[in-house]
Amino acid sequence: MKKIEIRFAGTGGQGVILASVVFAEAAGVHEGWQVVQTQSYGPEARGGASKADVIISDRPILFPKCRKLDFLVCLSQPAVAKYLSDLKVRGMAITDRFYVRECPHPKTVCLPLSETARQELGRELFTNIVTVGAVARISGLITLESLKKTVASRVPKQFIDINVKAIELGWNLVEKTTISSVPAETKHP
């Protein structure tokens, strides 16, 4: 049985829930995986911690919450503190270079996610979509094509191009070398 648990974590307003939805939809609808996406957020619209979990499997998923993460994506420093303990020893942390100063985990990939959004797309708003592109490539679970299709079906027409661009930017942020550090479990279910 193959089962991958991925958490997108950050601060309310960073759009981690949307990131997880796009990820799950691409994996589930376009790649044919079994997926469950869940989320948890504070009472606050913005400002509090926010996390969204995706489980991807080749069998029906019963328990929908992540327990032992294969991937932990952190877009804020507090998220690292809060969730690192949920990451498998051999799991991988993916962090934002700007917002996350440190991540005491052996397999950590630190990427300029928000910076890319800001610099290349002019608005930090797209950080989450850039992130999806990067994580998708790292995980090796989703093709670029599926991702683009998903994004195109999720956003209003006038925003399709920029979102697809964001996906590509994220995708391209990830070096070939990074991919090799995908946790073992992912490869050998």
């Binding site: 609808v29 997926v35 019963l62 328990f63 929908p64």
Partner: protein
């Protein structure tokens, strides 16, 4: 078409497919997505979405639309559900078929709005004053949010009764990939309704499974929340009061057997887990893990309908059980019913979690 949908969205879609054309509600976490979805989709199918000034207005508005012959629903969570209780009583008394979705969150009071809970199960049964019948369904997956909402619509129409769909934050917000049928079975009465001059709104033959008149059809009906006669007009006559309340009771009594909706597996096992809603996902996972680990089978009884409580059926299903485990995300609410029903024969254990987090398979396994 495969889609990634949340339970809330699937619930809204199920309602529309089953013929719901009216929604009156007031936003509240974690149910708001149902309203948001319907605000977009109902006008497209010629239906009506209205955001009322509060939940009381919502349920009464829904009752009004129902009285005028439109299939209607509302959705809320704990605080709003508490506010709706008087209105639910009215739906019951006037026999207005309608759907009330309660996406449960942490209580009491404002509680923990963004966390999950199953602590409104007893309230769903007894929240409004007076003796009254209730049907409540409890989906455990996105697909079931769709199915059971559609089912709720049909039951409400058949029984002329409000039906409660008890979801919770997990099931409502969780997204899964589903392929939903374009059409669902919609219940329609066999017989047409009698002509206005032969029509009684609360005829002995139309307590359920009957064609009912609504406003604007020339039947000149009278609806009231007072105890009433078969023509709908109020009465104080003890005999008729009893007739009126028996009628309500019989909606359930005479239909329990087909109403009951239970999924079960391996009930010949020594230990059986009785569960419902999202806690059943932990229950099922616990079963899987336990069986993998020990090689021993564990039975599972999953109540898709929690009210009316399937006592006789449960007694039958648990005949050979030596131990019953009832895992819930509350302080042991439905446990009380299971205990009442089967404790004569078999010990019942309550597994509780009520800190806003989902019950884990491990917690259940610990008491297997």
């Amino acid at each position: 078409m495969k889609q990634l949908l949340s339970g809330n969205e699937a619930c809204a879609i199920g309602a529309i497919r089953a013929g719901v054309r009216f929604f009156a509600g007031y936003p509240i976490t974690p149910s708001t997505e149902i309203a948001e979805y319907l605000s977009r989709e109902l006008p497209r199918v010629g239906g009506t979405f209205i955001q009322m000034e509060d939940e009381i207005g919502s349920i009464c508005c829904m009752n009004g639309a129902t009285a005028a012959g439109v299939k209607a629903m509302t959705a809320t969570s704990g605080p709003g559900f508490s506010l709706m209780q008087e209105g639910i009583g009215y739906s019951i008394m006037a026999e207005l078929p309608c759907i009330i979705v309660n996406v449960m969150r942490g209580g009491p009071a404002t509680g923990t709005p963004t966390r999950t809970s199953q602590a409104d199960v007893m309230q769903a049964r007894f929240g409004t004053h007076g003796d009254h019948p209730i049907v409540a369904l409890c989906p455990w997956s996105v697909r079931e949010c769709f199915d059971l909402t559609a089912e709720a619509v049909n039951i409400s129409e058949r029984l002329r009764i409000p039906v409660i769909v008890l979801m919770d934050e997990i099931v409502g917000h969780m997204r899964e990939v589903v392929e939903l049928p374009e059409t669902v079975k919609i219940w329609r009465p066999d017989k047409p309704k009698p002509a206005p001059d032969q029509y009684y709104h609360y005829d002995d033959r139309n307590n359920y499974d009957a064609a009912i008149a609504s406003f604007g059809e020339g039947y000149r009906i009278h609806l009231t929340g007072l105890t009433h006669r078969k023509d709908g007009f109020p009465t104080d006559d003890p005999e008729i009061i009893k007739w009126n309340l028996d009628r309500l009771r019989n909606k359930i009594e005479e239909n329990r057997s087909w109403l009951w909706d239970i999924y079960y597996e391996d009930i010949g096992s020594e230990t059986v887990i009785v569960c419902y809603g999202s806690a059943a996902r932990a229950g099922m996972e616990a079963k899987r893990q336990f069986e993998l680990k020990t090689g021993r089978r564990v039975g599972i009884v999953r109540l898709r309908m929690v009210w009316p409580f399937p006592n006789e059926r449960l007694i039958a299903l648990l005949r050979s059980a030596r131990r019953v485990i009832v895992p819930e995300m509350n302080q042991g609410q439905l446990y009380r019913e299971v205990e009442r029903t089967v404790s004569l024969r078999v010990p019942v254990v309550s597994v509780q979690r009520y800190d806003g987090e989902m019950l884990t398979p491990e917690e259940i396994i610990a008491s297997l």
